[in-house]
């Protein structure tokens, strides 16, 4: 029962981390290696607004999400738009931006264990003999609502359909009058906001530390690769596979193996089936 409950919680938090990465890659084909940095910076912006300026929690969250979205848009507009289509330059430049943000934060004095966000709700409840605090339940609910909202957004709104069209075939979308650069910019903005949502729902469970930026990046890549790059529903299911695998390895092998499982999942998936479990790319494109 413990495995079931904590497996679900872990899976949902992985899904939250991975959704933003999957969305950006799915729509604009830019592997956003600054994802972890966007996650961490949102946490610190919220903390600053909340603790230093003294805003109400809700307002701080909304403002920092907006700032994060803007940051993502700026990143695309100023840098990534110029290297789009050259996959290695994309990886290197987005990783360099992420590195600059994370190390800049560390230089700015955001280190140590003193930065925490308050939980949404105090208290806990017993589910099947396992104590679970309310915040974790809220997080699971947020995760599931977010996936549902994304599904509705991409299937029933004009903008969402345009984004989906671009994800499927960029040239055809261009012919139908969809501005692909604008859409890719929006996707980057949405991806950054999703990273922010993940940060705000996961970070209250622990401290905000710069190092976890790298961790988040690796986990979101793991989720997206196993689910198939570019398919965010795949990412959601893959999060459950990796999430449970991690909890099982922690219970039966030890906590060191949590990361080993994720990295092993990436390597094995890429070797055996590079398009992932739910990938939409043709096999031929990935392999010789």
């Amino acid at each position: 029962m413990e495995i079931l409950v904590y497996g679900t919680i872990n899976s949902v938090s992985l899904a939250l981390m991975g959704l933003g990465f999957a969305m950006v890659y799915g729509i604009s084909r830019v592997p956003n290696f600054a994802h972890g940095a966007l996650y961490i910076i949102c946490g610190f912006v919220t903390w600053t607004l909340l603790q230093k300026i003294g805003m109400p929690y809700g307002l701080a969250i909304v403002l920092s999400l907006a700032a994060n979205g803007l940051l993502g848009i700026l990143m695309y507009r100023l840098v990534l738009i110029r290297v789009r289509g050259m996959s290695i330059s994309e990886i290197i430049s987005s990783y360099a931006i992420g590195l600059a943000i994370l190390e800049g934060l560390r230089y700015g004095g955001f280190r140590g264990m003193t930065y925490t966000l308050p939980v949404f709700m105090d208290g806990m409840v017993i589910i099947g003999g396992v104590p679970v605090d309310y915040h974790r339940i809220v997080m699971v609910v947020i995760g599931i609502l977010l996936v549902a909202a994304l599904w509705v957004f991409t299937h029933f709104t004009r903008l969402g359909l345009a984004l989906q069209g671009m994800a499927q075939d960029e040239r055809a979308a261009l012919m139908l009058g969809i501005d692909s650069d604008f859409m890719a910019m929006l996707a980057m903005g949405f991806g950054a906001v999703l990273a922010g949502v993940a940060a705000i729902s996961i970070l209250p469970l622990g401290n905000i530390v710069v190092e976890s930026g790298y961790h988040v990046l690796i986990m979101s890549i793991a989720v997206c690769i196993v689910g198939g790059l570019g398919s965010w529903m795949g990412a959601f299911f893959a999060a459950f596979i990796i999430g449970y695998a991690q909890i099982l390895s922690v219970v039966f092998l030890g906590s060191h193996f949590q990361m080993v499982v994720a990295l092993l999942a990436i390597i094995l998936t890429l070797i055996l089936k590079p398009s992932g479990l739910f990938g939409q790319q043709k096999e031929l494109e990935d392999r010789v």
């Binding site: 290197i92 890429l270 070797i271 010789v288």
Partner: protein
């Protein structure tokens, strides 16, 4: 006169045209023109250890050379074979650990462990990367980026080879000068050796694998065989660099798998000039000392070199080497259209 009526044209210098091919033997001047850049590089690298003040900066020279070896192996794999390998740290770490194990546990001297680490490490890396060879582009890049992290976690999780403490008590080189001339010499051998290699028939096949692997396959050449060979060459170079690093610091540990060793050589390649082999060396000669000078600023130096990297990718994507080559071989002038 407005710029619309003018354009810049580039014309090869007369001496460049004259010194192409056999005609270079016509006069001393033409031969000097050909030899000068190579001579400056070789003599400069050999003189560097003598010119450096103090042990600290001499140590920096060794580190520059180690990064440069990893950088040219990255450049060779990425721009002559088409395999973008972001796992320089994987080669460094494997080489470092193998040298450490042979030295600390079996008591072999550095002269024996370094070649051994290069060969054994090259074989080990090639074997592990073999299943990934059919992958292309971003997939190969991601899987190679994950390998060093994976190795570090494995060593940490199973607590082998000293676990998080690493292997201690490894012999150093007999003196500082031996150490520096050893790495400088190896760097020069690799640099000029690779330049030869890419111009041989084998190099032609490597380039063909990058440009159109299906055509190579259709010619009855086994591409996996050649890719594996290229990976072996590159990883053996990386492992040798890692082994030298272990003997310089007298320690091998998990931090040899750190992302630094993957990212800095790539940054050096981008800045120095991709696909030129000499470019990465120049990039390392600039980047590593600059990051040493900025050591007082702590992590701000990483911000600094990340910014330089992005700026180069955006505005000077062909790098310093291509720029210098253009200046050396061509004249520019404005002409009326």
């Amino acid at each position: 006169m407005s710029t619309e009526n003018r354009r810049k044209e580039r014309i090869d210098r007369g001496i460049k045209v004259r010194s192409d091919g056999l005609y270079a033997l016509m006069s001393w001047r033409e031969m000097a023109y050909l030899i000068a850049p190579r001579f400056i590089l070789i003599a400069g690298l050999l003189a560097l250890p003598l010119l450096m003040p103090g042990l600290y900066w001499q140590r920096v020279i060794s580190i520059v050379c180690i990064y440069a070896i990893v950088a040219i192996s990255f450049d060779f794999l990425a721009h002559y074979v088409g395999l973008v390998c972001l796992g320089g740290a994987f080669f460094i770490g494997v080489g470092g650990y193998i040298a450490g194990i042979f030295n600390a546990y079996f008591g072999m001297p550095p002269l024996l462990t370094i070649p051994l680490a290069a060969i054994a490490g090259g074989l080990f890396c090639t074997l592990l990367l073999l299943p990934c060879l059919p992958l292309r582009g971003v997939y190969f890049a991601i899987v190679t980026l994950m390998y060093p992290l994976f190795m570090a976690r494995i060593i940490e999780a199973f607590d082998i080879f000293g676990g998080t403490d690493g292997i201690l008590g490894i012999d150093s080189f007999s003196s500082a000068f031996v150490e520096q001339y050893f790495v400088v010499g190896i760097l020069l051998v690799f640099l000029f050796g690779l330049r030869r290699l890419v111009n041989t028939d084998m190099g032609l096949i490597f380039t063909a694998v990058m440009d159109n692997d299906q055509a190579v396959r259709a010619s009855g050449i086994n591409i996996t065989h050649y890719k594996a060979l290229a990976v072996f060459i590159a990883s053996a170079m990386g492992c040798l660099a890692g082994a030298c690093l272990t003997h310089i610091y007298m320690w091998s540990g998990i931090s040899q798998f750190a992302l630094d060793f993957s990212i800095l050589p790539i940054a050096a390649t981008v800045i120095g000039g991709a696909g030129t082999l000499a470019g990465p060396v120049i990039g390392c000669l600039i980047l590593v000392p600059v990051s040493e000078l900025l050591r007082d600023f702590g992590t701000l130096r990483i911000v600094f070199y990340a910014t330089i990297l992005v700026a180069f990718i955006l505005f000077r994507s062909d790098g310093i080497m291509a720029f210098a080559k253009r200046k050396y071989e061509q004249i520019e002038r404005w002409t009326q259209v």
